[in-house]
């Protein structure tokens, strides 16, 4: 029995047993459903083996929505526990696990894949390419992310979840203070997903630099493509630090090395340092694509071109470099001298300037525009004031002397939710609505979408503004209970009500999708929003090869100018199109990665070595594989285009 006891969870509760049963039933239902409807082959040939950037984008989107649900359930449980003083809903261990997984899931397995979904789907279309530069690598990226996320998510039913916070600081995360396997899950699952993200960065940097349509110079690229390029650069420079830090942390936990130990020459605070060397650029990896998405949505629904294109690009490039100069502001109270803190205070405040420039540019874009209040535009308009409040409190936190008061309080929690929710979540929800017809060929219901927006926005304000107040009054984060005499009770109840509104908004969004699948008209045309950039020049939904004829770009807003100024986008005739072949390799290799990671978490060395050999065998097979791709013939293109009503000239 000794072997199996390690898989038991350390703090079982009825909730967890219920989840186990629910997970089991769900898996059985999926298997039964796939078999009953004879969909196994469709799943394998259409999705698991696909290298098509559009399908990979859609899979990222589905994964992100699932993770949004998981992280959201964590959030609701946390706020329910805090809603009244001295609550007994969760014990402290359970609460620790929930806030740790909430953070990791929301940042790495919700926000990141949501951004990746839109990058994957939109960027090749925006630059007039047929796919990304390395389609199969793209599939590996997705499956590694997915397996990493799944490995992390099974932690709460097998072995126990990480409980040292989403930043997992040593020495708390070391074996001495976190003896059960939770933190192993953290180290290894994030490592696997992180490798995938790093590959995505390389892939998109190459794609954007090398595969733009003829005539699209760098300064003619749409803003989201610019944002994706800059983001890819940050990924390439920031993620290796995380990789190294996670390897060191894994070694400390599994092989008794002393990198982050308090004895034997280890530096316990080095983890915090390395974590934030990656962690601060990471928040810009999330927010810059979000800025790019707003820069696509706002001009479209204001019927004006983007104000200050060059300053937008310059401020993004500036932010990308500068994001590496500020990380120490996450641990002002760690013990370094005042002059060190002052340096990082100033660098942090400076980064508000380019962000401010972008805010003004969006406002000037809307100024005297003919604004249409669609769902994507509502999210963008809601974003500006709310994000600015988050930015201002950020500058407050940047003052290192004052930070001693704010540090690790609910004020900080309110601040970063105040930038991430209106910044990233509003952007991806708005953009998912905006690009929905591009992905699936029908629109999402506007009326329901607006309800979801208002529930989310009001819920957000109710949930997070009270935290500023209790935080300044001294309510610390990551503490599972508080006494009635602190007076935090009523504010926390308001927060809980806000959380419930946000949960309702999530279900409204899911219902919107369901409702629109059932009732929305299927013929919305190729350009339902009267948009401006190249992705709308092809059909809805996009054919496999994206563009039947590669577009010729001669201005910044290629599609708008083609519509209203008579530029010709598609010159010449159909030619046969070279496309990459599907492959099961990425999926199989990532499954082996999953087994390898699972074996490492539980120190099952035999299985881990087998897994490692399996991974190397996959890579070797790929190295010797000869695959020249395939061609789509002119006849096939003509057939497809005729079905869509001809190429948009």
């Amino acid at each position: 029995m000794g072997f199996f006891t390690r898989f038991l969870i350390p703090n079982p509760s009825p909730v967890i047993y219920t989840s186990m049963v629910a997970i089991g039933i769900t898996i059985l239902l999926i298997v039964f459903g796939l078999t009953h409807f004879k969909k196994w082959f469709y799943l394998w040939s259409g999705w698991l083996t696909t290298v098509d950037h559009k399908r990979i984008g859609i899979m990222y989107l589905i994964a992100a929505l699932l993770m949004l649900f998981r992280g959201g359930v964590d959030a609701v449980m946390m706020r329910a526990q805090l809603a009244i003083p001295d609550n007994k809903l969760l014990d402290s261990q359970h609460y620790n696990e929930i806030f740790s997984t909430h953070g990791v899931v929301m940042i790495l397995f919700m926000a990141m894949p949501y951004i990746m979904a839109l990058m994957n789907f939109v960027v090749p279309l925006q630059i007039g390419a047929r796919d990304v530069a390395f389609p199969r690598l793209n599939a590996i990226s997705f499956w590694l992310f997915f397996m990493g996320a799944m490995l992390f998510n099974i932690s709460f039913v097998i072995g126990g979840s990480p409980d040292a916070g989403w930043s997992s600081y040593f020495p708390l995360a070391g074996n001495e203070f976190s003896p059960h396997v939770g933190t192993n899950y953290y180290m290894i699952a994030i490592q696997i997903a992180g490798i995938g993200t790093l590959m995505t960065g390389i892939n998109f940097m190459t794609t954007i630099l090398k595969m733009r349509a003829p005539g699209m110079k760098l300064m003619r690229m749409p803003m989201f493509t610019w944002a994706s390029l800059v983001t890819s650069v940050i990924i390439i420079f920031a993620f290796p630090v995380l990789t190294v830090a996670l390897i060191m942390g894994t070694m400390d936990r599994l092989f008794a090395t002393k990198f982050f130990a308090m004895t034997d020459g280890g530096m316990d605070m080095l983890w915090a340092n390395l974590f934030w060397v990656w962690g601060h650029p990471e928040v810009y990896i999330l927010i810059l694509p979000a800025f790019g998405l707003f820069s696509e949505i706002i001009p479209t629904f204001s019927r004006r071109n983007l104000y200050g294109y060059r300053s937008m690009v310059a401020s993004m490039v500036f932010i990308s470099i500068y994001s590496f100069f500020v990380w120490t502001h996450h641990f002002f109270t760690m013990g370094q001298a005042a002059y060190v803190n002052s340096i990082f205070s100033i660098t942090t405040m400076v980064i508000a300037i380019p962000t401010g420039i972008k805010i003004f540019n969006w406002l000037f874009t809307m100024w005297r525009g003919r604004i249409r209040f669609t769902v994507p535009m509502l999210y963008s308009i809601g974003f500006i004031p709310l994000f600015t409040i988050g930015g201002v409190t950020g500058v407050m936190l940047a003052m290192s002397a004052a930070d001693y008061q704010y540090h690790n309080t609910m004020f900080l929690v309110a601040h970063f939710h105040n930038v991430i929710i209106p910044g990233v979540v509003f952007a991806v929800l708005g953009a998912a609505t905006y690009y929905w017809p591009k992905m699936f060929g029908f629109m999402l219901n506007e009326r329901l979408g607006k309800w979801a927006f208002w529930f989310l926005t009001i819920g957000f304000c109710l949930a997070f503004f009270p935290m500023y107040i209790t935080g300044l009054d001294g309510q610390a984060r990551r503490i599972y209970t508080y006494s009635e005499s602190t007076g935090f009770g009523p504010w926390n109840m308001v927060t809980f009500i806000g959380t419930v509104l946000m949960a309702i908004s999530f279900f409204l969004i899911v219902y919107t999708v369901y409702y629109s699948i059932r009732h929305a008209p299927k013929d919305v045309g190729d350009d339902p929003w009267d948009a401006r950039s190249l992705e709308w020049a092809t059909h809805n939904p996009v054919p496999e090869y994206n563009f039947a004829i590669i577009p010729q770009v001669s201005s910044r807003e290629a599609f708008w100018d083609a519509k209203y100024k008579g530029h010709e986008l598609f010159k010449g005739d159909y030619e046969k199109i070279h496309m990459p072949n599907n492959s099961g390799g990425p999926f199989i290799m990532s499954c082996i990665f999953f087994v390898f990671g699972f074996a490492l978490v539980f120190s099952i060395w035999f299985l881990a070595i087998m897994g490692l050999i399996g991974i190397f065998v996959c890579m070797a097979l790929r190295s010797f594989e000869i695959d020249h791709g395939r061609y789509i013939s002119v006849e096939e293109i003509k057939e497809t285009e005729a079905k869509y009503g001809g190429v948009n000239k």
Binding site: V233, M267, N273, V277, F324, M334, I343
Partner: protein, 95 residues
């Protein structure tokens, strides 16, 4: 014959061996820590440059400009990260 002989690569190989030997002296001879670190850092950077230019062909394609841009950017960020880390973990450490 002269065109066929890869003189650049041969010299690069010899040079990288010499650099390795130079770094090895730190182990075999008794010298101050500062001296040893200086030798390590110098030989490491020259070694990296030799590898990039001679064996990874960083200067031989049309896009060498973007390769070097990325490279300088990476070196710059690496220096910022290392100096910043030393700044808060060692020089400015007050506990």
């Amino acid at each position: 014959m002269k065109e066929l002989f890869p003189a650049k690569q041969v010299w690069g190989f010899v040079f990288s061996l010499i650099l390795t030997l130079a770094a090895l002296t730190v182990y075999f001879f008794n010298m101050s820590k500062a001296m040893g670190m200086t030798i390590f850092i110098l030989t490491a950077f020259i070694q990296a440059a030799v590898q990039l230019v001679v064996f990874m062909h960083a200067r031989e394609t049309d896009d060498s400009k973007s390769i070097f841009m990325t490279l300088y950017c990476a070196i710059f960020l690496a220096i910022i990260t290392v100096v910043g880390t030393i700044l808060c973990m060692i020089w400015g450490w007050t506990y």
